[in-house]
């Protein structure tokens, strides 16, 4: 009887075998990344195409400086657990540094208190890097509310009252994206948007002067820093994309000619 009970006791598997294909992909991506980073370290030549939205960043802040108007930066509604918000902080660092160099006031309303405290540190350090710590005003990086339309109303109010020269919408947005972008347009600001929310991208493309589409936003920090190691990782992403494209074409052909059906890979979660 004791033996039978022992046999009936179940235990979860240590390694989830169903996720093995994902682990293989992750290891493969890791190897590509490390290869390109090492290549970049050795000084290999890397070509990265121009991203208009990031090229326009300096001009937008310069325009605000000429007009004597502030710059508004909106990091989206999502907290620090989103990679998009972390990418947004990288762009914020560059925007804050330029704003400090040009002596432009930077206003940043937040929907998440953790993002607010991190952003305060990022902006403070950017002002220090630019040699203008005297211009840093922590009150300009403020918390509004975590409520979606409460935040939208607050941010819209700030845009309409302050009439900024440029508005940066960089982060994860939901239905409020178009309301914010159109308000910025009506205030006469240049809008540079960027998001990984595919449902909101069409709104930004229609309403904003420049839009960072998905991965462009995630690449922004590396692109702006121009550091070879970071640029190397962008090349790795391109190679991974090429490999995925070849794999997709092969899978379609294999399925079409009835050789093998790889659709079981879609079941992995």
């Amino acid at each position: 009887m004791k033996l039978l009970i022992n046999l009936l006791i179940s235990a979860p598997e240590v390694f989830q075998k169903g996720k093995l294909p994902l682990l293989v992909v992750l290891v493969f991506l890791g190897i590509i990344f490390v290869y390109f980073i090492e290549k970049a370290k050795k000084g290999g030549e890397l070509f990265i195409r121009k991203i208009p939205g990031l090229e326009a960043l300096d001009d937008a802040i310069g325009r605000s400086a000429e007009m004597g108007k502030p710059v508004v930066y909106l990091p989206g509604l999502v907290g620090l657990n989103s990679i998009t918000t972390i990418a947004s902080l990288g762009i914020l660092r560059k925007v804050a540094r330029k704003a400090a160099e040009y002596g432009v006031e930077l206003i940043m309303p937040n929907a998440d208190p953790l993002v607010m405290t991190t952003a305060q540190e990022v902006v403070k350090e950017a002002y220090l890097d630019a040699g203008r710590p005297d211009l840093y005003n922590p009150n300009n990086i403020m918390y509004l509310t975590s409520d979606q339309f409460g935040f939208t109303a607050g941010a819209d109010g700030i845009i309409m009252r302050e009439k900024p020269g440029a508005v940066f919408l960089q982060g994860y947005f939901y239905a409020e994206s178009l309301i914010l972008a159109e308000t910025a347009f009506s205030a006469g600001a240049i809008q540079i948007a960027g998001t990984t929310a595919t449902t909101q991208l069409p709104f930004f493309i229609a309403a904003c002067d420049y839009t960072l589409i998905g991965e462009e936003m995630l690449a922004a920090s590396a692109y702006l820093s121009r550091e070879p190691i970071l640029l190397g990782s962008l090349k790795a992403e391109d190679l991974a994309k090429a490999v995925i494209m070849v794999f997709l074409i092969m899978a379609i052909l294999l399925k079409t000619f009835g050789i093998i059906d790889l659709s079981f890979l879609l079941e992995i979660k």
């Binding site: 405290t117 403020m142 918390y143 159109e182 709104f203 589409i213 998905g214 970071l230």
Partner: protein, 207 residues
Amino acid sequence: MRKEVPLLITILTAFIVILAFFLTPLAQTQQILLRWYAIIGGFAMFVGVWNLLKKHVFQVSRGKNTFYSLVLVLGFFMTFAFGIYSIVKYKDAFYINSPFMFNFNYVLAPLQSTMFSLLAFFMASAAFRAFRIRRLEAALLLFAASIVMLGRVPAGYALWHKLPLIAEWIMKIPSMAVQRGIGIGITLGAVGMSLRIILGIERPYLR
């Protein structure tokens, strides 16, 4: 140390979360980390609220944008008072007849709906600007959008019974293909950025 300690915490946490995806015994550790994040987030909320009140009380005392700041400060304390009163009287702030819920249902919810309804007007103005641009892409966008919009309403079906089918095809094939392409790019971008953060070569949160 100001750099190394946060970097070490980031790297360790990231590795645990990744490994927990594949290794069952680490799932509990991942849950603990997520709980810590929630606790830190809860404390950060106090910092956020303190920041908000401090800024607006300061603005009221300085006479800058007094009206808006006064509305915010009064609104905050009124909602807080309603919440406390509701807890004391009904033992639950979310009791349907409590002043707190009255405030939510008849003040906050209509204000939220008003903001959301603005979207319809902004959609029209943004679409007008996008379609007005004289480029091939804008013309294609106008053409596709017109078919999709017409195909989604009974008038479109009355005009030509195949319009809803064409609208469906546009959404399911070309639009979906583009969305998936962007989606793959975003996923790879996220993997790339995560690896850069884990390896410590990109630190947007550090100097």
